[in-house]
């Protein structure tokens, strides 16, 4: 054993003559990572997303001020060394509000994704695999949701449910699941007649078993890609609802609402609108780049 532990670990990862399931999984993950890391744009997207997550998680340490503390004597100050991104009309530190706002943004995006993923999987896989009248009913329901522009639908729901983050999440989730279900159904249709599915059927596998053990793992990559790309539109919709006063309620910091409040002072204090706007743009772009990168490595059709 003359090799250092590090290089031998790498050799162990790259060796595809596996001696354990753990090695097989580690190898898969490592090779996927190697391919992903060759795409600089996707890597950039990943870095921004990781920074966003860290900022949200460590907000109390990253922020320089309390995001809710008002100080009217220090209202509408331009960016400086004490207030990096300036202060708002109530004298709150914009940078700190931006950091805490990341929590709201991520909270909405993750919650929507967690709700939408399983719904899309179950509806799409059931419609695609079982077919018949179940397919017809599920897809007509999906069509109804798809018939409305998503922002209008989200607006209608959050207006009906009342403003607030939780209601915004529900409203956005209602607009996001139909395309996911459609995607899963389309993918399922391509695998439904595959020989390995037929083999499982001939061996007596039950419908849920085939759906969850055979079809879902195959649809997973494209759904992950889709949901990552969707993150951008979820964040934009959340910001839009916040902007219109239907999302997070004051005084809790939310990027859309921050941009909306800054509108009145646009000419005197550009940073109030521009900084949250830039944050929304940057994060949406990062999720898009990450999604594109994931598509390159996960989706065999785009190889």
């Amino acid at each position: 054993m003359s090799a250092t532990p590090k290089t031998s670990f790498k050799a162990w990862l790259l060796n595809d003559d596996f001696s354990s399931p753990a090695q097989a999984r580690a190898h898969q993950a490592y090779v996927t990572w190697l391919r992903f890391s060759m795409n600089p744009l996707a890597l950039g997207g990943l870095v921004v997303v990781v920074l966003l997550v860290l900022a949200a998680w460590l907000a109390p340490f990253v922020a320089t001020h309390n995001p809710l503390t008002q100080d009217l004597t220090r209202a509408l100050l331009p960016p400086s060394s004490t207030n990096w991104f300036g202060t708002d009309e109530l004298g709150r530190d914009v940078y700190s509000r931006l950091v805490y706002g990341a929590r709201t943004t991520l909270y909405i995006a993750i919650l929507v994704t967690v709700i939408v993923g399983p719904i899309g999987f179950i509806v799409g896989a059931a419609a695609g695999y079982i077919g018949g009248w179940i397919d017809t009913v599920l897809m007509r329901v999906t069509d109804i949701f798809l018939a409305f522009p998503s922002l209008v639908l989200a607006l209608a729901f959050s207006a009906a449910l009342g403003p607030g983050i939780e209601n915004a999440v529900i409203a956005i989730a209602l607009t996001v699941w139909p395309p996911v279900a459609r995607l899963v159904r389309a993918e399922t249709l391509t695998f439904r007649k595959a020989d390995f599915v037929v083999a499982a059927e001939l061996q007596g596998a039950s419908v849920p078993r085939i759906m969850f053990r055979y079809i879902v793992p195959l649809c997973a990559p494209s759904v992950v890609i889709r949901l990552t790309l969707n993150m951008a539109s979820i964040i934009l919709t959340a910001a839009g609802l916040g902007f219109l006063g239907l999302g997070a309620q004051p005084p809790s910091p939310e990027w859309g609402a921050m941009a909306a409040q800054g509108r009145q002072y646009l000419l005197d204090a550009w940073w109030l609108t521009a900084i949250p706007g830039m944050a929304i743009l940057l994060v949406s772009l990062a999720f898009n780049l990450l999604g594109d990168g994931l598509r390159d490595i996960l989706d065999p059709k785009h190889a």
Binding site: D16, D17, F18, S19, S20, P21, Q23, A24, Q28, A194, D195, F196, V198, A199, A200, E201, L202, Q203, G204, A205, S206, R209, R213, Y214, P217, L218
Partner: protein, 261 residues
């Protein structure tokens, strides 16, 4: 029911679609396959040979007539778990018949879990050994295997449930000649060792004659002729279509070209 075979098929008809789209694929077939026999079904594309196999396997449900396996009559629409286990299928395309994201071990364990069988590790190891693959292959993914190795895994998956009948749908037509020889030898050995009954569907007369005891020739959904292996090799066949298929497998024969439109 004096002479009861392993597989008894009487007046089997298979029709897909309804109304004007109706497609009568198999038109009244009678076949009896003895226990331990290898029975070949030969024909050109679209003759219905794979559909017959599908009906025996339980994949095709739109059939009428009578199919009995081991004397037990089958219902077109539903089968019991015990009835499903009696026959297993090996598919043509070794790239499409294994789940791309399951390891070989998982592919082989799945049928065991479905049928709630014990000693899963031991069975997987024995199945791999039976088809001549090393044990450590169970941790690999299908894309790391060659076409011949994948086909061996597909055979192991079929055998792991200890079926009485193996249904082979063009098992070597996607493989190179040298790999085909390995798989054909394997199939021959397995039958000698375990007394399995085979039904082999193929378009290649030489492959069918190599493996099968009796060969049925299908055309347009009907059986044209059933010949023994010896008769087929000797060319002692009566139907011109059988003769044509036989000649065709021998290679190119210069001849006048009939006009077709």
């Amino acid at each position: 029911m004096a002479d009861q075979g392993m597989i008894d098929i009487e007046n089997l008809s298979i029709t897909f679609g309804r109304g004007s789209r109706k497609n009568h694929v198999v038109r009244g077939i009678d076949v009896s396959v003895r226990q331990g026999e290898c029975f070949g079904l030969v024909g050109e594309s679209g003759c219905g040979k794979s559909t017959v196999l599908g009906a025996i396997a339980g994949r095709v449900k739109e059939w009428s007539g009578r199919i009995a396996i081991g004397g037990e009559q089958l219902d077109p629409a539903r089968r019991s778990q015990a009835q499903r286990r009696r026959q297993q299928m090996v598919f043509q395309d070794p790239f499409g018949s294994l789940h791309p994201r399951h390891t070989i071990g998982r592919i082989l364990t799945e049928p065991l879990s479905i049928n709630r069988l014990d000693d899963q590790d031991g069975r997987v190891d024995r199945a791999l050994e039976q088809v001549g693959l090393p044990k450590r292959f169970r941790f690999r993914f299908p894309h790391q295997l060659s076409g011949g190795q994948r086909q061996r895994v597909a055979i192991a998956r079929a055998l792991i449930l200890e079926p009485e009948i193996l249904l082979l749908d063009e098992p070597t037509s996607a493989l190179d000649v040298s790999i085909q020889a390995e798989i054909l030898n394997l199939l021959k050995d397995l039958r000698q060792r375990s007394g399995l009954t085979y039904v082999l569907v193929s378009h290649d007369m030489a492959v069918v004659a190599h493996l099968c005891d009796r060969i049925a020739v299908m055309k347009d959904g009907q059986l044209v002729e059933v010949a023994s292996r010896q008769d087929m090799i000797a060319g002692d066949v009566t139907h011109p279509y059988t003769q044509m298929l036989r000649e065709g497998s021998l290679g190119y024969r210069p001849q006048g070209v009939p006009q077709t439109a």
